[in-house]
């Protein structure tokens, strides 16, 4: 995680919560002014919405310019239930949140495969649909909206006054912030950040990217719905004029300008954007200039937002608590040997792209515990082979079998589940996560505690995380980068990044680990180290397929080598056999000239 700031369970965390609670309690008492209290109420619920946006945008790397729609779903649901069905606030509010969550889940469906501007369009279209529907539908009151929405009642039967309502919203905001902080520092936040780092890499360690994206959308929508509910019962009146595109932009801005993915960014952003109109109230004519100008300046000059930019400063970094040293637990290495070590068989595998036969009826049997080299000239189908075997491409025909059981044709996360994982020729790490957390993501399929346990930081979930952190440390030690555990993955050297990818792959406890050109771009010193690591992985009992151009490396480490040329396997055997094979020489050097002998 970028910033392990608030530890809800630590003493600092509790101190923070108490301070926040006192602030919320004291604010309306100290500044006892009806207008000010109203502004503070709005700030608090828009802040909740901004937290939700940050989960979607800052953590997961998606974009939304339609959150006003989700906010509206919460607001209208609760308003309709109280005015038309006679529900009390306490009954309608949770239902409003649920409705927004469902709407978010639906919105996720067209969003899953859409990226960049296309995703922006999906969310924008959703926002407009909701706005237009609310405006045109009689049931939602049309352009007139819904009036006399009752506020929440106290147990005494009295309706809450402004101060009490602020306490309710402010208190809820604190709870949301704490729970979000829990997710942030747990497996959940880590997995969402991994999606932002690289969806493909996340898949290959067993993360079902679609399912987790839906989770991000739902979480984000729940926050938006909660904010919307509070809004609906604030003034007793809503209409569609509120839920416009401009609101979506404002909400996105408050998350981004505060500092997306920084945990406290949404708070800072919301405070600034919500107090701004009040501060500059006398400059009414210029308000939009100021608003636009502030967005532009923060976006251009503080790309990581206000909190993010502050945290780039060494002074601020020095103030952050240093993470405690983690004692490595080497049992993780011993366990690599455990369990069945199946033969992985690739049978009659073909992959055609249009007319191009990138792979053509390839049969390769990979013996357990060996290093199986795969070589071939450029364009011979090596990369296609890796992509098909790891589930990134669907094979045109043929299958992959693990221990005689067919696993072919499934998704990358399905392949990871079957015990096949990989590294990438062009490195794919989760750049915003620490080195240690990159390995932690690799444990995805082994972790037993789910969303709720992490949301409430149950003892079991905390203990499991601690246990796996020690195992992750052992894997980092295994590949020789334990000293970089707390650095961001993006700050590692090239060779170190390659080793980190291997450690992440090993964390999945693979039955087969495919290394796709691990030596590409690696300097001679690192190369030596790499051969050593591959040797030690073999000693630990993990079957490996190594795709490489570096002949010296591949000849030195492989037990068996298969040679591909034009999508076909042309030779197989030990290094010596392959080296002497005339077909291989021909593939690499061309056909021998007339009269020349070879051998």
């Amino acid at each position: 995680m970028r910033l392990p700031l608030l530890a809800a369970t630590g003493p600092m965390g509790w101190l923070g919560i108490v301070a926040a609670a006192l602030t919320v309690y004291a604010l309306p008492l100290v500044l006892d002014d009806a207008f000010f209290i109203l502004v503070m109420q709005s700030l608090a619920y828009l802040y909740i919405v901004a937290i939700g946006i940050d989960i979607l945008v800052g953590w997961t790397g998606q974009i939304s310019i339609g959150h006003a729609g989700l906010y509206a779903v919460g607001a209208y649901t609760s308003a309709l239930l109280t005015t038309k069905a006679g529900f009390s606030f306490w009954a309608s509010a949770p239902l409003g949140v649920v409705a927004a969550g469902i709407a978010g889940g639906l919105l996720a469906l067209p969003s899953l495969r859409a990226k960049g501007p296309y995703l922006a369009m999906v969310t924008l279209a959703f926002g407009f649909m909701v706005e237009v529907t609310a405006n045109r539908w009689d049931f939602t009151g049309g352009p007139m909206g819904i009036m006399s929405i009752p506020g929440p009642r106290l147990p005494s039967g009295e309706e809450m006054d402004g101060t009490e309502y602020f306490w309710l919203i402010g208190g809820t905001a604190i709870v949301v912030q704490v729970l979000t902080a829990n997710l942030y520092r747990s497996r959940i936040g880590r997995t969402l950040f991994a999606l932002q780092g690289s969806e493909v890499a996340a898949e290959t360690v067993g993360i079902n990217v679609y399912a987790w994206k839906v989770l991000a959308f739902v979480l984000s929508s729940v926050c938006a719905g909660l904010g919307g509910v509070f809004f609906a019962h604030q003034n007793g009146f809503i209409n569609s004029d509120t839920f416009v595109f401009g609101l979506s932009v404002q909400l996105l801005t408050s998350a981004l300008m505060g500092g997306s993915g920084t945990l406290f960014g949404p708070l800072v952003g919301s405070v600034i954007l919500n107090l701004l109109p009040t501060i500059f109230a006398h400059l009414h004519e210029y308000q939009l200039y100021i608003y636009g100008g502030i967005i532009l300046v923060t976006i251009v000059f503080m790309p990581r937002g206000i909190v993010g930019s502050l945290l780039q400063l060494n002074v601020v970094r020095g103030l952050l608590p240093k993470p405690a040293a983690i004692a490595p637990d080497p049992s993780v290495i011993a366990e690599l040997r455990e369990g069945a070590r199946p033969t992985v068989t690739v049978r009659d595998l073909s992959k055609h792209f249009g007319g191009i036969r990138a792979l053509n009826n390839v049969d390769i049997s990979i013996k357990p515990g060996t290093v199986h080299g795969l070589i071939g000239p450029n364009g011979s189908g090596k990369s296609t082979f890796v992509n098909v075997v790891t589930g990134i491409y669907k094979p045109t025909s043929g299958e992959v079998e693990v221990a005689g059981k067919q696993v072919g044709g499934s998704s990358p996360h399905g392949m990871a589940r079957s015990g096949i994982t990989r590294t990438f020729q062009s490195i794919r790490l989760f750049g915003d996560l620490s080195v240690l957390n990159n390995v932690m993501v690799g444990f995805h399929l082994q972790l037993r505690y789910g969303f709720l346990s992490h949301l409430f930081q149950t003892a079991g979930a905390v203990a499991e995380e601690e246990r796996y952190r020690r195992r992750a440390m052992a894997l980092l030690e295994f590949v020789g980068i334990a000293d970089r555990a707390e650095d961001l993955a993006q700050n590692l050297s090239y060779g170190e990044q390659r080793r980190l990818e291997i450690a992440r792959g090993l964390a999945t406890k693979p039955k087969l680990l495919l290394l796709d050109e691990p030596a590409a771009g690696v300097n001679p010193t690192e190369l030596h180290y790499l051969a050593d690591v591959i040797g030690r992985i073999k000693a630990a009992g993990v079957t490996q397929v190594v795709i490489e151009h570096h002949m010296e490396l591949i000849m030195g480490i492989s037990d068996t080598i298969s040679v591909l040329d034009f999508g076909q396997k042309i030779a197989e055997g030990t290094a010596t056999e392959v080296r002497a094979n005339p077909k291989v020489i021909e593939a690499y050097l061309g056909a021998p000239a007339e009269g020349e002998t070879h051998g």
Binding site: I63, V122, V200, L296
Partner: protein, 292 residues
């Protein structure tokens, strides 16, 4: 009923060709920089307001007013690129440009209110307000002018990109930035040109559409977004898809408007949501397989 449909088709084609025109602007900047100006609608508005000032207030002949509007918005495109695009292109956050261009659009809107006030201003059509009868449907000559002028411009832009040296250089940048740079093409200048062209197209759209709607500070938001929908519908990197998308969306909303005016606004967005659920890169967009 039949007359209504006929009329809706003409209106749909005319508004649709405006969407297609603005969307071509999204296309040229997207292929060169993978960004687009979320404030295209505000450039459209500025084009209309400048045109209005020149044509109505200053009494400049319409063709000259049109030229002034197009040149002015084109120059503003250069400023946009410098202020809101270039500084954020290499940012850690890949979405910075969404907010930076939206920020510009917010400022432009406020600027328009300050300069021209918040009211809707009538923009007299240079072709008069007389309704042409084609069959039993009434059509404004301005609508026909829009179709001819907008679609003609779209064709001209494509000709420019495919045939002229400058256009080819721009396409080269779109195809492969680094290779283009190595071949001696000034990539930075091509990017500026793309934003200039994009903004000028929006400005032209503004002066074309203003006589049919009204000219005012908030006129741009909806066409800007609908044009974005058109570009997304067709696939941002496919000019033909974009043209189809624009015309289709224009037709769709006008035709549904005949059935029920409540459907008119929502239909575009429902349509695009369904479409993207099945084809996440648009109708004719390239399906990208991530290379690993």
């Amino acid at each position: 009923m039949f007359a209504n449909i006929w009329q809706a088709v003409i209106s749909g084609l005319s508004i649709g060709s405006i969407y297609a025109l603005i969307a071509q602007g999204y296309y040229v900047t997207y292929i060169t920089t993978s960004t687009l100006n979320f404030g295209q609608g505000e450039f459209l508005m500025i084009g209309a307001m400048i045109g209005l000032t020149a044509y109505v207030v200053l009494g400049v002949p319409f063709p000259l007013a049109l030229l002034i509007a197009v040149v002015a918005t084109g120059l503003m495109g250069i400023a946009l690129e410098r202020i809101a695009i270039r500084p954020v292109l290499r940012h850690v956050l890949t979405h910075s440009w969404v907010l930076s261009t939206l920020a510009i659009s917010i400022i432009l809107k406020n600027g328009a209110v300050s300069l021209w006030g918040p009211e809707q201003i009538r923009f007299p059509s240079p072709f008069g307000e007389e309704v042409l009868k084609i069959g039993n449907a009434g059509i404004f000559p301005q609508e026909l002018f829009i179709i001819v002028c907008a679609l003609g411009t779209v064709a001209a832009v494509q000709l420019f990109l495919k045939k002229s040296i400058l256009g080819k250089a721009m396409m080269a940048v779109a195809h492969n930035r680094n290779a283009a740079a190595v071949m001696g093409i000034d990539v930075k200048r091509m990017v500026i040109l793309a934003f200039m062209l994009s903004s000028a197209l929006a400005g032209l759209g503004g002066i074309l559409i203003a006589p049919v709607t009204f000219a005012w500070a908030y006129m741009g938001t909806v066409p800007g977004i609908k044009a974005f929908a058109a570009a997304i519908f067709g696939g941002l990197e496919n000019p033909v898809g974009i043209l189809i998308g624009g015309l289709l969306i224009g037709l769709l909303e006008q035709l549904f408007g005949v059935i029920n005016s409540n459907l008119k606004e929502g239909i575009t967005f429902l349509f695009i949501l369904i479409m993207l659920a099945f084809r996440p890169t648009g109708l004719m967009g390239r399906r990208t397989v991530e290379k690993v």
